[in-house]
Structure formats: structure tokens, C-alpha cells
């Protein structure tokens, strides 16, 4: 838990995030800079400038880390809310989910093979479309650096939130269910926040996509890595 100077790190993190939220809501051009990205960049810059150790920072913001557990469990709520709609189209949803997850994992693997990349970095990128708290656990299971996986997951979410919906419009995917699921499968929670912005229905389907991607990837990735990339 934070002690003494640790509270300063918690205050800085919360303060920058709340400030970024306000600016984000006020000015349209800040759309491309999600508050979470701004906060990470600012806090990381302050850490580098002051030369503070990451471990000390982490001890200060431990309350936030602790809340990730119950927050992940709470992802059951948006899923349950669109459960009826999902059940009526169960087969299409499962098929799209399988295709999306296989393409997401396979493309990282293929680019790594093509570029002769065998280090930790490629392995840590595999769970990039999985919501960050789950990506952290998965990274440990496949022998990758968890903080690196977390960073890739966040960057993927931020990038997906920015380009996902325009890309789907370009491909003439207009069905809100398909738009939502694609955002959740590819860009997890940060993409879901963007999908919710567009429409509540897209948001519900996006959270379903995020949750099922987390479950599916957790189920298949450790075995797949053992077989293909020992």
C-alpha cells in the first residue's frame, strides 16, 4: 500500500487521468489521444525525469492494481445484458469469434516468422487483443514479459479505438452487432468504450466480444504456444 511519498504517485496518476478526461470531453481534436494513453505517457515521463524506480511507483498505485480483479469479474454484466440477442445468433457469433482470434494470433506469428523475430517481444505481443488484466495472467503462462504484454494490449486498444470504426465503415460493415463484436474482439475494453460512444447496442456486443476473446484466448493460447513456439 502507499506510504509517505507513495501517495504522491497515486495523486499524480489520478490527477492526470481526471484532467485528461476533462480535456478529452471538451475538445474534439483530442479524440486521437485517449486519457489512458495520455496518463501513461505523462506518468512514465515523470518517472524517467525523476529517476524514481518503477517498483516504488507500483507500490504507490497498488489500490488501482487491486481493483482490476473485481473490475474484470464485473465484465460479466455487459455480457449478460445482451445474452438474449447473442443466443439468437450463437453460431455466427462463435464463427466470427474463432476467425477473428485465429487471424489475430496467427498474423503476429506469421509476421514474426517473416521478419525473423524470435525474441520475447513477439511472444509478449500474442495476447495483445485480450483485455489487459487477462493479458497479464496469460503472459506469465506463455513465458512472456507481463509488463510488455500489458503495454501491447493497451496500445492495441488505443489504436483499435482510433481506426476500428472507420475501417469497418470502409469495408461496408454497417450492422451494429458486427461493428461492436469486431471492436471487442480486436481492441478489448478501450475499443468497447469507443463502440459504446457510437451506440449502446454496439457497446453491448463489443463487451461480449471482449469477454469471449479473453476466454477463448485463455483456453487456446498456452497450448498453441507449446505446440508452435516452444
Amino acid at each position: 500500500m502507499p506510504t509517505g511519498g507513495g501517495w504522491a504517485w497515486l495523486a499524480l496518476t489520478l490527477g492526470v487521468y481526471v484532467g485528461a478526461l476533462r480535456v478529452h470531453a471538451r475538445y474534439r481534436w483530442t479524440r486521437a489521444f485517449p486519457p489512458v494513453l495520455v496518463t501513461i505517457v505523462v506518468v512514465a515521463a515523470v518517472l524517467l525525469l525523476t529517476g524514481e524506480e518503477y517498483e516504488k511507483y507500483l507500490a504507490g498505485v497498488e489500490p488501482l492494481v487491486l481493483l482490476l480483479g473485481p473490475a474484470t469479474v464485473a465484465l460479466a454484466l455487459p455480457l449478460v445484458r445482451v445474452a438474449g440477442e447473442l443466443r439468437r445468433s450463437l453460431l455466427p457469433v462463435v464463427a466470427a469469434l474463432l476467425v477473428g482470434t485465429i487471424v489475430g494470433l496467427g498474423s503476429v506469428w506469421l509476421v514474426a516468422l517473416a521478419m525473423g523475430e524470435e525474441g520475447d517481444v513477439a511472444r509478449a505481443m500474442l495476447p495483445k487483443s485480450v483485455t489487459t488484466p487477462v493479458a497479464l495472467g496469460l503472459a506469465e503462462q506463455i513465458g512472456a514479459a507481463a509488463p510488455l504484454s500489458a503495454v501491447f494490449s493497451i496500445v492495441t486498444g488505443v489504436l483499435g479505438a482510433a481506426v476500428g470504426l472507420p475501417l469497418l465503415s470502409l469495408l461496408r460493415v454497417r450492422d451494429r452487432r458486427a461493428r461492436g463484436l469486431a471492436m471487442g474482439v480486436a481492441a478489448h475494453g478501450i475499443g468497447t468504450a469507443r463502440a459504446l460512444d457510437e451506440h449502446a447496442r454496439s457497446g453491448g456486443w463489443s463487451s461480449a466480444g471482449m469477454v469471449s476473446t479473453a476466454l477463448l484466448t485463455t483456453a487456446v493460447l498456452p497450448t498453441a504456444v507449446q505446440l508452435l513456439w516452444p
Binding site: P35, S129, V134, L167
Partner: protein, 171 residues
């Protein structure tokens, strides 16, 4: 405390979007009994599922992180329609706590994200790979998922329409 007062309290913590800042009942006795709309009760439910999942993960050799298993267990519980209606009402304690946490889910990623400061050297070394693999894989994932689902949903709707039209024609 009157029921009306209690209602305004839970509204307030919904508006604040975060149970952490939801100090709605700091100056009055928190309404844990009665109709139980307090976010704290919802947080207890979430933590209880997390604990249950943690115990299951320790006992059985499941390759699943405890929070994901807790999510699955809660979703299964809520699959019962009566429980779902009671628990997912907009101002139920679980919805207040859960939606409050989810509204600021990205904030909870910041500590992990700041961890990038320790991997600066490694990332710089593999910058070309990261700059290619991540955007390419992301774009392919969005396109593959969206195109597959929209095509399959269109087919499903066409078939349902054909089935609905059929009995009319025979009658």
C-alpha cells in the same frame, strides 16, 4: 434514512461513475440492509466471486487466471433469468459497483502501462517488428471479425425470412 434519500445516494454514485469516489453515504449510515442498493454490497459480491475463483484455480489445475474464471462464474449465475432481473437493474448494488468500475476500466491499466519504462531498450531494439506486426494484426483482426459476422448475420436473416414466408404460401 428514507427510501427516497437512499435512492438519491445510489444515483449519486452512478453519476460519479466510480465506487472509489462514491462517498455518497459518508455522512449518513450506509444502507447495507433494507433494499440493498449500496455499491459496497455489489463490490462484496464481485470480491466474493473473485475469491471463489481463486480457490477453484488453486484446487484444480485450470490454465485460467482467477479473474476470468470469476467473470465466467458470475455470468453463469446471472444466466438464471430471475437473478439476472434482480441483479442487473440499473440501480441494483451489483450494477452500481460493476458499471462504476467498468466506466473507468482504462484507469486501472495505467500502472501496468507505465511498466513500459523498464522495457524501453527492448522495445527500441525490436521497433521495426512492433511497428509492422501490431498495426497489421490489429487491422486484420477487425476486418476478419466484422466481415465474417456481418455476412453470417445477413445469411441468418435471409433464411429466417424465407422460413417465415413459407407457411404463408402453403396456407
Amino acid at each position: 434514512m428514507t427510501p427516497a434519500r437512499r435512492r438519491s445516494d445510489s444515483h449519486r454514485s452512478v453519476l460519479l461513475h466510480s465506487p472509489v469516489s462514491g462517498t455518497a453515504s459518508a455522512h449518513t449510515a450506509p444502507a447495507l440492509g433494507g433494499r440493498g442498493r449500496h455499491w459496497l454490497e455489489g463490490l462484496v459480491i464481485l470480491v466474493a466471486y473473485l475469491l471463489l475463483a481463486e480457490a477453484v484455480v488453486r484446487l484444480l489445475p485450470l490454465p485460467v487466471p482467477a479473474p476470468v474464471l470469476g467473470l465466467a462464474l458470475l455470468a453463469l449465475t446471472l444466466a438464471a433469468p430471475r437473478l439476472r432481473r434482480r441483479i442487473t437493474r440499473p440501480h441494483s448494488s451489483l450494477a452500481t459497483a460493476g458499471d462504476g468500475l467498468l466506466a473507468h476500466l482504462p484507469l486501472l491499466f495505467v500502472p501496468a502501462g507505465v511498466g513500459v519504462v523498464r522495457y524501453g531498450a527492448e522495445l527500441a531494439e525490436d521497433a521495426p517488428f512492433v511497428a509492422v506486426a501490431l498495426p497489421v494484426s490489429l487491422v486484420l483482426t477487425v476486418a476478419a471479425t466484422g466481415l465474417t459476422l456481418s455476412a453470417l448475420l445477413r445469411r441468418q436473416r435471409a433464411r429466417q425470412r424465407a422460413e417465415a414466408a413459407l407457411p404463408n404460401r402453403t396456407a
